[in-house]
């Protein structure tokens, strides 16, 4: 999955990164978009933004990822950025149980502000800190199943599963979108309002036929 120029893509998907302060959202983003990690990163104020394009089913999918501040106080600002999001990574820190407890609130927040088709992945970050683990994989899995979200543990520091987590979310969004394109024919204007999915004017429908072969 090579890094490539930004200007050329078939699909543009808006994805948000949410979760408590200090769980590693910004480092997940920098690992995915620039392959960088910093132990000394600053807190995110308001929102920040980065992009990366990947291939899904021979299509170029460009992710426009909005990284949000974790502090509750900022939610009034950051929730405005949920609008139009078709994917979300809801991140907690596997070494701080309270960040997992708050996942439920984040999920509600997200569902209140986004389309019901949004693809959500629960992400347990800092999985490299094995001796400090405070949230079991089983608990997180059970929660994800109950809430009908995807789930993965990651380590932005060790670059573990970061690629997989984002790719999975983007692939799932792609499937949702191409399924919709199939249902509504090839009239992109018929897509539900409130989604900034930029459907290319090429053969959207034919892409759907290849779906299902690229899950992570």
């Amino acid at each position: 999955m090579a890094y490539r120029a930004d200007d050329d893509y078939d699909y543009l998907f808006k994805v948000v990164l949410i979760g408590d302060s200090g769980v590693g959202k910004s480092n997940l983003l920098s690992r995915f978009t620039r392959n960088e990690f910093s132990l000394e990163s600053k807190s995110t104020i308001g929102v920040e933004f980065a992009t990366r394009s990947i291939h899904v089913d021979e299509k170029i999918v460009k992710a426009q990822i909005w990284d949000t501040a974790g502090q509750e106080r900022y939610r009034a600002i950051t929730s405005a950025y949920y609008r139009g999001a078709v994917g979300a990574l809801l991140v907690y820190d596997v070494t701080r149980h309270v960040t997992f407890e708050n996942v439920e609130r984040w999920l509600k927040e997200l569902r209140d502000h986004t389309d019901s088709n949004i693809v959500i992945m629960l992400v347990g970050n800092k999985a490299d800190l094995r001796h400090l683990r405070a949230v079991s994989v089983e608990d997180a899995k059970a929660f994800a199943e109950r809430e009908n979200t995807f789930f993965m543990e990651t380590s932005a520091l060790e670059s573990m599963n970061v690629e997989n987590a984002f790719t999975e979310v983007l692939t799932q969004i792609y499937h949702v979108v191409s399924r919709k394109a199939l249902e509504v024919g090839d009239d992109p204007a018929a897509l539900p309002k409130g989604q900034t999915i930029n459907v290319g004017n090429k053969d959207d429908v034919s892409a759907v036929k290849k779906a299902g072969c690229c899950s992570a």
Partner: protein, 311 residues
């Protein structure tokens, strides 16, 4: 007796480092202009800070409410992430001082409480008041060279100066941060009046000022320029006094339009990325002075004739 108005005029263009601690305390109204009273007032205020610390900070978590525990936790998450590119702030004792100042401030200002980014705002005060006791450059400082008494004096000065600074911007940090939203809106208007082409281009690209300028107002530009230039910038901030929030708009317009030509060549995503990581790494005082003097000029042109901004 110091004439504070005269001092403001002089300080606006930069304060010599050795005078900065005294001048900042005066400009913020923390130290009284009357030199006979000054020593006594500062002594009393510093004791009051110590009282607050023992009353609010040095207590077990069992005596804190859930909200207070959450706030302390948030502050503890942010202190190690404060100006991480300056190694001095990585010293454990420095981070502890920050934590005490921030938590005490937050408890005593319940309308806003601690908001991420306020941690950044303490750092100019810390380096300036530490410079009264430590020599050489910040990179060579070690806070453990100082006695606990001195550290508590410095902390107290930081606490009171932070309080004075933020008193003038109370609604910047209350729920939904209306003060910042208002200034961001004003910034957009001012930029439109000064540089129509940039303004039009940004609008066509769908770029919202809130997407980049929010952080500027929230952290007063600390995130955007090299740390060694910050105290100079703050000389002007503090010289503005009560007029600071309005003047920030002109400083930030001037800052933004430093890249007027460049901005017009970028599309939406490039704009957001560029504005998030502005190329100021190699900035010297020269670039900063340019931003400030242009801000001064535009402020005189537009602020005295509000009709320029009316339509």
């Amino acid at each position: 007796m110091v004439c504070v108005e005269k001092l403001r005029e002089l300080a606006w263009s930069g304060i010599p480092p050795y005078m900065r601690p005294d001048v900042w305390r005066l400009l913020l109204g923390y130290a009284p202009p009357n030199s006979d009273r000054r020593g006594g007032v500062l002594k009393r205020k510093r004791l009051e800070y110590l009282d607050c610390v023992s009353q609010y900070y040095d207590i077990p978590d069992t005596e804190r409410s859930d909200d207070e525990i959450n706030m302390l936790r948030q502050i503890a998450v942010d202190c190690p992430r404060t100006v991480p590119d300056v190694s001095f702030f990585q010293q454990a004792q420095v981070q502890k001082s920050l934590e005490r100042i921030l938590y005490t401030w937050a408890i005593r200002h319940p309308a806003s409480g601690y908001v991420q980014g306020i941690n950044d705002l303490v750092t100019p005060f810390l380096v300036v008041f530490l410079s009264e006791y430590l020599e050489g450059s910040v990179d060579s400082w070690s806070i453990s060279d100082l006695s606990p008494d001195k550290i508590s004096i410095i902390e107290a000065d930081c606490y009171w100066c932070l309080s004075k600074l933020l008193d003038g911007m109370q609604d910047h940090y209350t729920f939904a941060q209306p003060g910042i939203q208002r200034l961001v809106f004003k910034l957009k208007e001012v930029v439109r009046r000064i540089d129509e082409p940039v303004s039009t281009h940004m609008e066509e690209q769908g770029l919202e000022f809130l997407q980049f300028a929010f952080r500027w107002f929230n952290c007063l530009l600390i995130r955007e320029i090299p740390f060694h230039l910050i105290t100079r910038l703050w000389d002007t901030y503090l010289a503005e006094g009560d007029a600071l929030p309005d003047f920030l708009v002109y400083i930030f317009a001037s800052f933004l339009l430093t890249w007027s030509d460049k901005l017009q060549k970028l599309d939406f995503q490039e704009l957001v990325m560029f504005l998030q990581h502005l190329p100021t790494n190699n900035w010297t005082h020269q670039e900063l002075e340019m931003v400030l003097s242009r801000a001064f000029m535009w402020h005189s042109m537009f602020n005295s004739s509000p009709s320029h901004l009316a339509n």
